[in-house]
């Protein structure tokens, strides 16, 4: 029995395995960062359309945005990963070897990323919308009274305030997205969780006992848990610090009577 545990921990002394896992971690972080960045871009567009396209001419876009947001927010990410893997087209630009990955891997990675981006966009759209709604009507009036048109008003006055209001929520969303990206393991892409699963499925070769043991599951998944925890806990400490700073800054402002 002790032998199995020793064999399992023994795997962790292999630098090849560590490199494999750490590369997976890097992919996890990169995929999540891309998903959040593009999520902010698309989410903002969705939020703006949902909030402000009221005129009859553009109402169709508003309904499209509402449908998109509600559909993606109320269905599981895993479903969209499976759907994208089957139906999502991959442009030639991505369908070849890169970053030391095979064509099959880059293709799957691209599809799964699209699913994550689509899903994250809908969540971030609602976060941004919360930020937009917290900007007082007077700001729109001030902008209009100075002669800013709708786009200028959004770019220079409303969106900066909206983003400032939701910085903590957006940062927390990065943490959620990093965790969500583990769903990608289900379609055998190359991020942290799938790599850990791949090592586990071939652990009989690496641990030297010829079998895959319960202790291997424990050690490898423990490893994955530890890595996710370290990244996300570090991020949440940063979020906490930013929140504390904002609170401090806000309390030094004199409260103005409304």
């Amino acid at each position: 029995m002790m032998g199995e545990w020793e064999a399992s921990f023994g795997m962790l002394q292999s630098s090849a395995i560590w490199l494999y896992i750490l590369k997976g971690t890097l992919f996890t972080v990169i995929i999540s960062a891309i998903a959040v960045i593009l999520g902010v871009v698309f989410g903002s567009i969705l939020a703006l359309v949902r909030n402000y396209c009221h005129s009859p001419k553009y109402r169709i876009f508003r309904w499209a945005a509402i449908t998109y947001i509600e559909v993606f927010r109320n269905t599981p990410l895993l479903l969209w990963i499976f759907i994208c893997v089957v139906f999502c087209p991959v442009p030639d630009l991505f369908a070849h070897r890169m970053f030391g990955l095979t064509t099959v891997e880059t293709t799957l990675l691209f599809k799964a990323c699209i699913a994550l981006i689509l899903f994250t966009s809908s969540v971030i759209a609602e976060i941004v919308r919360g930020g937009l709604n917290s900007v007082p009507a007077g700001q729109f009036e001030a902008a209009a009274s100075q002669g800013f048109n709708t786009v200028q008003t959004m770019v220079y006055i409303i969106l900066p305030q909206a983003y400032r209001n939701v910085v903590p929520t957006l940062l927390s969303q990065i943490i959620t997205t990093i965790k969500d990206s583990s769903y990608l393991a289900n379609v055998a892409t190359i991020e942290l969780m799938s790599r850990v699963r791949q090592i586990l499925s071939t652990a009989n070769i690496y641990n030297g006992t010829g079998n895959i043991n319960v202790s291997d599951v424990f050690v490898l998944y423990g490893c994955a848990a530890a890595i996710y925890f370290i990244i996300n806990f570090a991020l949440s400490l940063i979020v906490r610090r930013i929140n504390a700073q904002r609170k401090k800054a806000a309390s030094t402002y004199r409260i103005v009577k409304a």
Binding site: P136, G138, Q139, E141, A142, A144, S145, Q146, G147, F148, N149, Q152, Y156, I157, P160, Q161, R164, T252, Y253, R254, V256, K257, A258
Partner: protein
């Protein structure tokens, strides 16, 4: 809301609109820069009729506004509040816009506040910054929508002082909605009294305060001026 309001404001005129709450004073000035879209009737500035199509550019060129709630941009410091519109809308260089801004900060007596954020200022100071912001656009017309109604009593005077100075020293057309009768008497070329969306009396301050025949105005003044 408004019924049959017919106002002609001359260039350089200081017009004060008074009246009880809900009488349509604010709506009237807000129609002048299209914050309220008139359901019928016309707003004509400089001979140009304001329409859905041209209102943004016409407003940009001709009018500025000072609000009851100041509505400064909280994400920008005072200097950027003052230079945003000139730089982004009027094509003024940053350097020139900042020079103008410094000049008007001096006019409102807040030269030392150029680099603080609006929320750190008192209400009176914020409103003076808002007036400076309106001045920086260098428009011929400035609309004031109850500029002192949201202020602490002790800071009202500093804002009124700035407005009196403007009224006396500049050729800017000012349309002012206010409840400050002393101020109205001091700066107005013409006072307009509104009730229920209608103009029921207009005239010089002397006529309005001393010689009006209108019973409703007399009653209003009686209530306001008693104390």
């Amino acid at each position: 809301m408004l019924k049959d309001v017919n106002l002609h404001v001359k260039e350089g005129e200081k017009m004060v609109i008074v009246g009880p709450s809900g009488s349509g004073k604010s709506t009237t000035v807000r129609c002048m820069n299209y914050l309220e879209v008139p359901t019928s009737g016309k707003v004509i500035i400089d001979g140009e009729e304001m329409t859905v199509r041209n209102h943004t550019k016409l407003v940009r060129r001709t009018t500025s506004m000072v609000f009851q709630q100041f509505n400064l941009y909280p994400h920008l410091d005072v200097m950027h509040n003052l230079t945003l519109a000139p730089v982004k809308l009027h094509g003024v260089s940053v350097k020139e816009a900042e020079e103008t801004a410094r000049h008007y900060l001096e006019v409102v007596g807040l030269s030392d506040k150029a680099h603080v954020y609006p929320t750190t200022l008192s209400g009176g100071q914020q409103q003076r910054i808002a007036i400076a912001r309106a001045l920086c656009a260098k428009t011929k017309i400035i609309l004031f929508d109850e500029p002192t109604s949201a202020l602490d009593p002790e800071t009202i005077q500093e804002v009124l002082d700035v407005m009196v100075k403007l009224a006396e020293e500049s050729n800017i057309t000012m349309v002012i909605v206010t409840h400050e009768m002393g101020f109205a008497r001091q700066v107005a070329d013409r006072i307009v009294f509104m009730e229920d969306g209608m103009i029921i009396e207009e005239g010089t301050p002397d006529h309005f305060f001393n010689h009006t025949e209108n019973e409703r105005v007399k009653k209003f003044l009686g209530k306001i001026l008693r104390h």
